[in-house]
């Protein structure tokens, strides 16, 4: 040490020698916080293991947990950002997602939806309003966001939902009442997800096949979507099926204020 003590020059060069390399995680974590890269981890869901990707802006991507390299490749190609695995989700995010899957619609989960259209975001935001264990037709979303004719576009937007489960696009079904497609593994996965939420999908599809679109109660004279919690409380004796809202209206039924059924005559 006396060598250093001898001259300022030696001491100064020894000080310059104290430079160290940052661990790789420092720069990458900064990019993640800035929303310029993402991390991902797997969570357990009724559909099995699912990868959730996130960055400083919010959840960015949800997909079935396949093999990690394939998932990462698809993420990089689709979103143009780097991604790296993490051991687990940040605790607050994990519990927020768990609560949302349990049906808590008040829990806020930040989403990173950069690059998507305002129409897509409006569709996904509306889907968040559908209660757990209930379904609504594409036409309902279209009407609710003020684009009643954009039924097909609603279907497309839901198919492109980057954060399925977190945004429950599985609760939106075809306007003919049939189950429809699902990005997380097709109609069967959608049935599994709805069944896990307590919905009897066989009844749903049987009634839809029979042309039943709405259920009324002859005691309240209110008409609902078949899976509306109000409709499901109606006892079999008072349960009146309708094939259209106009048929219900002409029988003297008014639309439920909770599920807000809309006329689907023009819907695909």
């Amino acid at each position: 040490m006396t060598v250093l003590a001898r001259s300022d020059t030696a001491l100064e060069s020894a000080l310059a020698d104290l430079r160290v390399e940052a661990p790789a995680s420092v720069g990458f974590s900064a990019l993640v916080d800035a929303g310029l890269a993402d991390r991902y981890a797997s969570i357990d869901t009724p559909l099995g293991a699912v990868f959730v990707a996130w960055n400083g802006r919010g959840v960015s991507w949800v997909a079935p947990a396949t093999d990690p390299p394939a998932f990462e490749d698809r993420f990089r190609t689709t979103l143009g950002r780097d991604i790296a695995p993490a051991d687990e989700l940040p605790a607050r995010l994990a519990s927020a997602i768990a609560r949302r899957l349990d049906g808590d619609r008040r829990v806020r989960i930040p989403l990173d939806l950069r690059g998507h259209t305002p129409f897509e975001v409006a569709v996904w935001t509306k889907a968040l309003e559908i209660p757990r264990g209930e379904v609504r037709p594409y036409g309902w979303i279209a009407a609710e966001i003020g684009k009643p004719k954009a039924v097909r576009a609603v279907g497309t937007a839901l198919a492109h939902n980057p954060v399925p489960l977190v945004v429950p696009c599985h609760r939106v079904v075809r306007s003919d009442g049939m189950i429809g497609q699902y990005s997380m593994g097709g109609p069967d996965a959608k049935r599994r997800m709805l069944a896990a939420e307590g919905l009897d999908t066989r009844v749903l599809e049987t009634e839809a096949a029979a042309g039943i679109r709405f259920i009324g109660s002859d005691t309240t004279h209110i008409v609902c979507h078949p899976t509306c919690r109000d409709a499901r409380r109606v006892t079999a004796r008072h349960r009146i099926p309708f094939t259209s809202l106009s048929a219900a209206a002409s029988a003297g039924y008014r639309p439920c204020l909770h599920c807000r059924p809309v006329s689907l005559a023009s819907a695909a």
């Binding site: 250093l4 001491l11 020894a14 000080l15 104290l18 160290v20 661990p23 420092v26 900064a30 990019l31």
Partner: protein, 213 residues
Amino acid sequence: MDTDVALAHRLARDIDAAFPALVAAHQDRLFTIAFRLLGERRDAEEVAQDALVRAFRAMHDYPKNRVAALRLRPWLASIAVNLARNRRRRIEDRHPPTSLEPLVDAGYDPAADGRGSPGTAADRRETQRELAAALLRLTPAVRSAIVLRHVDGLSVREVAEALGRPEGTVKAQVHRGLRELRAILESSPQPAVRATEPTARAARLVPALEAVR
């Protein structure tokens, strides 16, 4: 620095596209600054990461011409120094300076491992360990001046800008810092205790340390 001027202009044009280049160019020096100010790798990692993220957010909010005019080296250093100071105060609130960890931490430099011949590498590591420990015995104000001037290599003017002090003050602090480092090293072996003034309790730990050796 020319590359920093070019980088500032790229950041002003498209911060999302240019920010990864800023991270690549500055992460090591920000980590080094935080590490040499705090003495603990974990704290330094968090400070360096936080400094980069704060820089990103600030540049997002600044008008383009202000971003283009940023002198990145002193500006980023000032963010890291401020964050390190806040963190050091929090650490001291949490547990008074009696821990021996920084000693071990400050001397551990994986980057130095395996460089040169075994003997030289070991000597160099020992030098770094002692010097890093000595740095932590300087007062925070003198330490930040020395670390920015001689570890990071900023000019006196840049250090003054980064620390918000007059150049004359910085010169005096750097001078004083070198003198004090020399005094500490001349009186070695004497283990430094922590990033703050030695306390009575810390002084009692010195014999214990000697015994461990």
